[in-house]
């Protein structure tokens, strides 16, 4: 248990550093799609909800898990669709003439 905690902390710290370095490089042009994309990725929380709803340990856990899947899935689906729609609109002047 204690070891798991420490490795989780390491993972968190490394991921935070990677996040800073990668996201600092995102052009301000794309800050709106960045937010909708990270939001969709964040909805990976759905995996926790799936296990909760599937394990069927208590009725409460199943109900809460099911609602949680619905809300996370709507973020995944909606987030990816709108991010792609936005990115499709960004064209350079070169591409426009072609």
């Amino acid at each position: 248990m204690k070891l798991d905690l420490m490795s989780s902390l390491y993972v968190f710290m490394l991921a935070a550093f990677i996040g800073f370095e990668v996201i600092r490089r995102v052009s301000p042009l794309l800050h709106t799609p960045l937010m909708s994309l990270t939001n969709a990725l964040d909805a990976i929380a759905v995996v926790g909800a799936i296990i909760l709803a599937g394990e069927h340990k208590t009725t409460l856990a199943t109900i809460l898990g099911t609602i949680a899947i619905v809300s996370a899935t709507s973020n995944i689906v909606g987030g990816f669709i709108i991010t792609d729609r936005m990115l499709k609109m960004f064209k350079s002047s070169g591409a426009k003439k072609a």
Binding site: V11, F20, L29, T32, M35, I67, V70, G78
Partner: protein, 466 residues
């Protein structure tokens, strides 16, 4: 190896690959040329992770999972198809959904494990639930204000910050009691309900112009709560995704607060609004301004070599972006060099103006950030301001008594001619006078942004060149 153990390995491998795909996804977002590949990587990672999870041997019943996945997809599709102008409120709403998921899972985990919750577990679980609940109601409030179903005016009262910080303090206090003794299960609802109230109170004093900072901050909270959930469930994948989202929201919040010259602690504690000193006191004597007609404006624009258009939230409200594209096309055809200068906090969320202008088919290499364009204004013939105010206010550079003193601005006033499309001389968001309007080189174009730009375009295409 027994079958269960080998499935577990498959799931873990799927998670590791998904994690790598998520990081790649954000890396590819760095440039518009690779960005769509980034979305694809994200989708692939997501599908892989969900498919892996469905293999988990502990799942005894797929009925609810399947129903929920279908229902979520049905809700998600329209949310992905909203109008581009509705993107800020959609984003706020999606933060609320993310936070709802995290809060519900946290609550279920607590009641499954209590009273035998190790101290550290209880600490991260409290963090998950507190951040999740306040993000839930905070984001709903923000979405309501952006959608204009709630009053957009900031509501402030005496002792507001004291009330808000006390609420948060009580929630953290209760969480500490729970950490010390998780068998006090009756206390648990308090760490959900109090932050829910706090989330509402936190957004009440927020006005429209603060929204870019608030949305970024809520984004960061949503990410951190998901990372905390990763600790509770011991899911490295979730920790990474949450940390990436948290880092992204954090960077955007810092950018936004810098662009508004707010201190970061001011942002962190959600104490917005308090610095909006109303200075619109009485100074209503009419100073002379020069106004111009669409015809005059068109003549000046047609004669220019270099034009910088500065859009603001007013352009979005008037839905003027397509007319602006016509103006851009017309001027470009005449050989005028047209660029756009975009302030980080223009609009209601980071990058808002870029999305609207890209939707109107303006090439992204013409959309320049404040620091890229500011050096160009000295060589610019005309800066045309459409629906922006405070971000162009030269008082921010020179007038130490101005409430926005120190805020970085677009140096529109350095262009040879400044044109401002504005409905009337009414003060801007914070009631701050803009001395830009009284300069000799400034022409005020009074009217609705969409209508006035349309008139200029008509003059340009009608007059002379036919």
């Amino acid at each position: 190896m027994n079958p269960t153990a080998s499935t577990d390995v498959v799931i873990e491998v799927a998670y590791v690959i998904a994690t790598a795909l998520f990081i790649l996804s954000l890396k590819w977002l760095s440039s518009p040329t690779t960005a769509r590949r980034g979305v694809f990587a994200g989708e692939a990672g997501m599908v892989l992770a969900i498919a892996g999870t469905l293999l988990y041997h502990g799942i005894v019943d797929y009925k609810w999972i399947a129903t929920a996945l279908v229902l979520g997809t049905v809700i998600g599709i329209p949310l992905g198809r909203v109008q581009m102008t509705a993107v800020p409120q959609r984003t706020a709403l999606s933060h609320a959904f993310g936070a709802l998921c995290v809060t519900l899972v946290g609550t279920a985990e607590f009641y499954l494990r209590a009273p035998n919750v190790p101290k550290f577990m209880m600490a991260v679980l409290s963090m998950e639930v507190i951040l999740g609940s306040l993000t839930l109601t905070g984001s709903l409030m923000a979405a309501g204000k952006l959608q204009e179903v709630l009053p957009q005016r900031p509501i402030t009262y005496k002792g507001q910050n004291f009330v808000n910080l006390s609420l948060l303090g009580i929630a953290i206090g209760v969480a500490v009691l729970l950490i010390l003794d998780p068998s006090r299960m009756y206390l648990y609802p308090a760490i959900v309900v109090i932050p829910l109230v706090f989330g509402v109170m936190m957004i009440i004093p927020i006005g429209g112009a603060d929204m870019p900072t608030v949305i970024s901050l809520l984004n960061s909270y949503a990410g951190l709560s998901a990372a905390a959930m990763g600790f509770v469930l011991d899911s490295k994948l979730l920790i990474v995704a949450g940390a990436l989202d948290g880092a992204s929201g954090f960077i955007l919040s810092v950018n936004m607060s810098k662009a508004m010259n707010r201190s970061f602690s001011n942002v962190l504690f959600g104490a917005f609004g308090q610095e909006q000193i109303s200075t619109a006191g009485g100074k209503e004597e009419a100073k002379p301004v020069r106004s111009a007609t669409a015809e005059e404006a068109a003549a000046i624009l047609a004669a220019a070599n270099k034009v910088v258009i500065v859009p603001g939230y007013g352009m979005a409200v008037a839905q003027a972006q397509h007319k602006v594209r016509e103006l851009y096309d017309n001027l470009t055809k005449r050989g005028v060099d047209v660029k756009f200068g975009i302030h980080p906090v223009a609009g209601r969320m980071p990058g808002h103006m870029n999305v609207l202008l890209a939707e109107a088919d303006i090439p992204y290499d013409k959309l320049l950030a404040m620091e890229e364009i500011n050096g160009d204004f000295l060589q610019t013939d005309v800066s045309l301001i459409i629906g922006a105010n405070d971000v162009t206010n030269p008082a921010a550079r020179s007038d130490t008594s101005s409430p926005i003193y120190g805020m970085p601005i677009l140096d529109c006033d350095k262009a040879r001619t400044v044109m401002v499309i504005k409905r009337s001389m009414g003060a801007g968001f914070a009631g701050i006078e803009n001395p830009l309007y009284y300069l000799d080189r400034t022409l005020m174009l009074f009217g609705d942004a969409k209508g006035f730009v349309g008139n200029i375009v008509r003059e340009l295409s009608g007059g002379g060149h036919g």
